[in-house]
Amino acid sequence: MESLTGAEITIRLLERQGIRRLAGIPGGANLPIYDALARSQTIEHVLARHEQGAGFIAGGMARASGQAAVCLASSGPGATNLLTAIADARLDSIPLVAITGQVPSAMLGTDAFQEVDVYGLSIPITKHNFLVTSTAQLLECVPRAFEIASSGRPGPVLIDIPKDVQTARIEIDAWPEPGSQRPRPAPDEQSMAAAWALIESSDRPILYLGGGVVHSGAADEARSFAERASLPTVMTLMALGIVPADHMLSLGMLGMHGAPFTNYLLDECDLLIAVGARFDDRATGRLSAFCPQAKVIHIDIDPAELNKLRMADVAIAGDVGTALRTLTRQTRDHSRPQWMARTRALKQQHPLEMPGLDCPRTPYGLIAAVAEALDDDTIVTTDVGQHQMWVAQSFPLRGARQWLTSGGLGTMGFGLPAAIGAALERPDRGVVCFSGDGSILMNVQELATLAETRANVKVVIMNNRALGLVRQQQTLFYEGGVFGSTFTASPDFTALAQAFGIRSLNLDAYPEPRPWLTQALQTPGPALIHASIDAAHNVFPMVPPGAANSEMIGATA
């Protein structure tokens, strides 16, 4: 029998969960938790410089490892600052446990200092949330939070703990089992048989992979299935890397900034096999024109995704890994010579144009030069905007969990803290964070966290002195009315990095930047690399929002 405070119980439960590292910021309402954390022998604390940074550091840890990660914040502004990172985890189905301090129970609802209804605020952006009302309840809530975050379709869970619950002392005679993933439901055999029949009778099938394949740990299964059944494979932004970019069957990313041949081929398919994907509008374009001739098999662990946007001919609720294994076993070896020939022909006729690939001063050229200097297993994070799309289009990704990006929420400011989290989680792999001059400033304070942790992160800033993707849309769709999207004042990013105590390199300063770039990337430890990019570069092709995917700007018809 032990007598412990709620804060001590919380930390002990996290230790029992196997948490070895968490990110956060202390404040008045979570000081008891920090006091208990200080005495933990096994949990390392990463002190972020803004709670949103802490949320994204945890997000980066979870994305790199597939395990639920934890972030801490105090009440009020601490908690509200976390919300963006929580919403980001929700939209990309990332297992995250956010623990916030709250004013004492007796003061709830009195507009106490730093009181905000974070329970209410977080309802629509969490998978589930708790407002803990007694210390004993922690024994139930904390393990359940981990169970919920990592079971089925993963997602963020918030635990709001009033200060008196943290300080109250109770006797503990037995600890609950750590929360773990519930067994994933297997797909039902009848639907699997129906799916198999559709695949066997299809002449022009396409496999459409989403982030769910990564979450299910089923990248190998997806690849085997594609190879067995000769399925040209498109990937959503979240799924990039599952089938290596240079694989014969890879069609790369589909949708708004997909390659022309990818979107054209989708127009021709007679069967679309959607696995762990959710028919997001950035992927499908105008839904009524998406794969117009295709029957649809949709496999997802979340039944609410099935028939949500596109009616499926066969809808299968269950674990995508199990489903893919079953299908691979059942399906005959197919070679589909005609469909393969058509795929090759379209690839040749309508390739992704990458102007400037040989010149490291252009977007594609810089990305290629960075990729060349790095190990194949380097983790790549991005911020959000033009640089993100250029990297998604062209970086040679070769495995799941190599590519960490904010897909659903599209959060600028994601890249740097996510890279720190990934680098701490995977010290065996380097991390490169591609960012833009707009995005990096949205969580630039985390350069201090980077300097403190000495995490092996290389930040590559493509600077076009603009919110490039906004400016691109204004140029294309608003009669050239560029407004509010260009910067007249721009910081000296290399000096900024140095101010934070981080090595930096300005590629603009070198007539032949390649060797300098390689040296900077291959030196262990944090570094920031700045490269100016001609503002005239835009991301093409581009499907205008609301248009069909075949209506690409910048693609030859």
């Binding site: 329970y119 209410g120 309802i123 589930h128 919920i148 099935l306």
Partner: protein, 136 residues
Amino acid sequence: MNEKLPRRQREAAPQHERKHLQQEQQQRREQKHEHVPDRALFEIHAYNHAGVLSHLIGLFARRACNLESIVCLPTGDGRTSRLWITIEQTERAARMVKFVARLEDVISVRIGCADALSAPVRSAMRAAAAGLAGRS
């Protein structure tokens, strides 16, 4: 009855006009029901603790879906409750039921036609009223 009038009108209208407006609104509502007789009804079994209703109604509010009626009663020992919710947009019901089922605090949910199942809702309301009367 007057909850749908603009607030200023509601406050400013003299008594007799207010009554007139109420009648007019009632008529409109009845007409509407003649044209759209179907309502979807969700029968939900959920845990009974603070915040459950908030999770539940948030799903509808977030999709700009008006709840036409809602009844909630504790069941058995009060650890769970049963809720009946009706909405007008029946075409949304099939999708909404999956979002409801996804909530951690929802034990089960089934969907029925409000017109066919209005008897249990009515009896639930009677039971609620009786319960309140019993307590006072």
